[in-house]
């Protein structure tokens, strides 16, 4: 029987991720990229990848390095590897963004930035897959949330594979005709694998466990959860494999993707039913901020599903795809991420700082590291502004969207300050802050020389 130690570099992932989110939000305030520019413009590609890779992927990777071991009750395979992995992902992202700017001539240089960025990112993802794959392998038979994560990891490999292909073709490295066909028509598949399979499906799996853990809800595997897993895998296979076959046969993948989108609705309904069940059956009656603020994020996922159905019915999905993606990225994924970060940062910091002296001297509680009332107002501002921004996109009002980017940015800055305060123990009563034997945690990494494992 083994225990789970703190993931050493998770805080670094969270910090870089937040920097990327803030950078993207500043660009949105400045009117850079969509909706001021077309969806396929280089500026939009910069913005989208800053959010999808820089913010959401790094956030999820940092969280998985800490929580996959929790899901399977095994230590992380290699607690040192996440640092070189982070360097590959961040370096690859920087090169990729440079490559996008090269495409439209903003950067007037002729370096192979796109293929270099794609390669470095692929290497980073290989390291993620190796480390988490080995950890999951050691934890077989896998509990249900870990199976969601496994499907998510397969999806990120697919998304990265498409991405790598695009960078090689657009960077002029290869002209092989199947790869040209994939680049010409494969963008929706890249988005589905990344946003749907990797980010959404993984977040669903992790949320089953995190919500149950933090709300003290029973964790028995229910038939509806298994159905959501199986249905989700079928939808992803249909969209990605079916879509890829259509592309390679020189057909439009849109009908297959539309069917997959419709089939995703009952899967999300099953997930929603389970999550509502977790809230209902919880033993912790008074909801903490992280569980309370996960609710608007989950509602955003439901709203996005509803929006897809309505837009498909009116044949307007292509025109408003940007609004759906925005609601998924900011309302659902970022909203859930920020809400859970609020708890994870405080809990991990508490464990790192006070774990060694628990029971030996008075220590603060986890909730003493944060001031929930202060954080809640930032969450209300964040979700309010994100929902209004979605409406701005649906009524085609880019200036309104740009104006609303300001409160989104302000709320994110406010929350980032709250996370840093928790990490630095600023809100803990001075007399309890650092009892003898406790040490002030470093802002960016955990003191965890090696996984303590007792056989």
């Amino acid at each position: 029987m083994t225990g789970v130690s703190l993931s050493r570099w998770t805080m670094s992932y969270f910090a870089v991720a937040l920097v990327c989110l803030l950078a993207a939000e500043i660009l949105m305030v400045l009117g850079y990229g969509f909706p001021g520019a077309p969806l396929e413009a280089s500026a939009t590609l910069v913005l989208v990848h800053l959010i999808a890779l820089g913010w959401l992927t790094l956030l999820l990777c940092g969280a998985l390095f800490q929580f996959v071991p929790v899901l399977v009750a095994k230590p992380l395979h290699d607690n040192g590897l996440p640092l070189p992995t982070l360097c590959c992902l961040v370096g690859g992202l920087a090169l990729l963004l440079g490559g996008f700017l090269e495409l439209d001539g903003t950067l007037a240089i002729d370096w192979p930035l796109l293929p270099a960025g794609g390669t470095l990112l692929a290497l980073g993802f290989l390291l993620v897959l190796y480390n988490l794959g080995r950890t999951l392998w050691a934890g077989r038979p896998l509990p249900l949330p870990a199976r969601f994560v496994t499907a998510g990891l397969v999806s990120v490999a697919v998304a990265a594979g498409f991405g790598l292909t695009f960078t090689y073709v657009l960077g002029g490295v290869t002209l092989a005709s199947p790869l040209l066909a994939v680049t010409a028509a494969g963008l929706p598949l890249h988005v589905v694998a990344g946003l749907g399979g990797w980010l959404t499906f993984t977040a669903m799996g992790v949320s089953y466990r995190l919500l149950a853990m933090f709300m003290l809800a029973p964790e028995q595997e229910r038939p509806t959860s298994t159905a959501a897993l199986c249905g989700g895998v079928v939808v992803l296979l249909l969209a990605i494999v079916g879509g890829a076959i259509a592309v390679l046969l020189d057909r439009d993948p849109a009908p297959v993707l539309a069917i997959a989108a419709l089939l995703a609705v009952p899967v999300l309904a099953l997930y929603g039913y389970d999550v509502v069940g977790l809230y209902r059956r919880r033993k912790r009656r008074k909801l903490e901020t992280n569980s309370l603020m996960a609710a608007p994020a989950l509602a955003s996922l439901g709203l996005a599903a509803l929006l897809v159905v309505v837009l498909l019915a009116f044949g307007e999905l292509p025109r408003f795809a940007g609004a759906v993606v925005y609601l998924l990225a900011f309302g659902w994924l970022s909203g859930l991420g920020l809400a859970q970060l609020y708890k994870i940062v405080a809990f991990v910091t508490w464990l790192e700082c006070y774990g060694p002296v628990l029971g030996r001297t008075p220590t603060p509680r986890v909730q003493d590291l944060v001031v929930e009332q202060r954080a809640r107002k930032w969450f209300y501002l964040y979700f309010g502004a994100v929902w209004l921004s979605t409406i701005a996109l649906l009524v085609d009002q880019p200036p309104m969207f740009r104006g609303l980017a300001v409160p989104v940015l302000v709320a994110t800055v406010g929350l980032s300050i709250e996370f840093a305060r928790a990490r630095r123990l600023v809100d803990v009563t001075a007399s309890l802050r650092l009892p003898p034997g406790a040490r002030q945690p470093h802002l960016l990494r955990a003191f965890s020389p090696k996984a303590e494992v007792m056989k």
Partner: protein
């Protein structure tokens, strides 16, 4: 040599919400060298296998219906069983009956962990603490290891209650 089995049915104790560990250890201590124990329980008592294994008993478990289990503990002759009823504190392989029982199932995390660590501070070396938990305390284990304590644990048949035994070590200080 055929093993003669002494019967011990702890199902009434378990159904009444009790902790039969002390009774089991007492029964083990009363056995003659050629005797084994036939234990009847309402779940598969996984934590007990390691504890009694270290006292020189092989086990053979059978589900007997209604969620109940029969486990035959047979002396292997590798270690003394009845000869040395109470382990010495220095004996790393022996677990005594718990001196403290805790039910932490309804506490908000991380309180179960805090309470267990506080309780282990009051234990003398070799003393055992038993605790019921709502989930596997994975973040507790590294802290127990740092303090030099040993532990055994496992889920009961209902999959919802985790039974943990902690044996206090020599009070090794936390890693710097």
């Amino acid at each position: 040599m055929t093993t003669r089995y002494v019967d011990l049915d702890v199902r009434p104790v378990l159904k009444a919400g009790g902790e039969p560990f002390a009774a089991i250890m007492a029964a083990i201590d009363r056995l003659n060298p050629d005797e084994g124990l036939r234990l009847l329980a309402t779940f598969k008592p996984t934590p007990l296998f390691a504890v009694l294994g270290s006292k020189g008993f092989a086990h053979e478990e059978t589900e007997i219906g209604g969620g109940d289990w029969q486990v035959l503990f047979r002396p292997t002759g590798d270690a003394p069983s009845g000869a040395s009823p109470l382990p010495t504190t220095a004996d790393a392989s022996a677990w005594s009956a718990p001196v403290k029982e805790m039910d932490n199932r309804d506490l908000d995390p991380p309180d179960p962990m805090v309470k267990i660590l506080a309780a282990t501070e009051a234990l003398h070396e070799g003393e055992v603490l038993a605790a019921l938990l709502g989930r596997e305390p994975i973040f507790l284990f590294p802290e127990l290891a740092k303090r030099g304590h040993a532990w055994r644990g496992g889920f009961e048949a209902d999959g919802a209650t985790y039974r943990l035994l902690v044996r206090a070590g020599a009070g090794k200080e936390a890693a710097p």
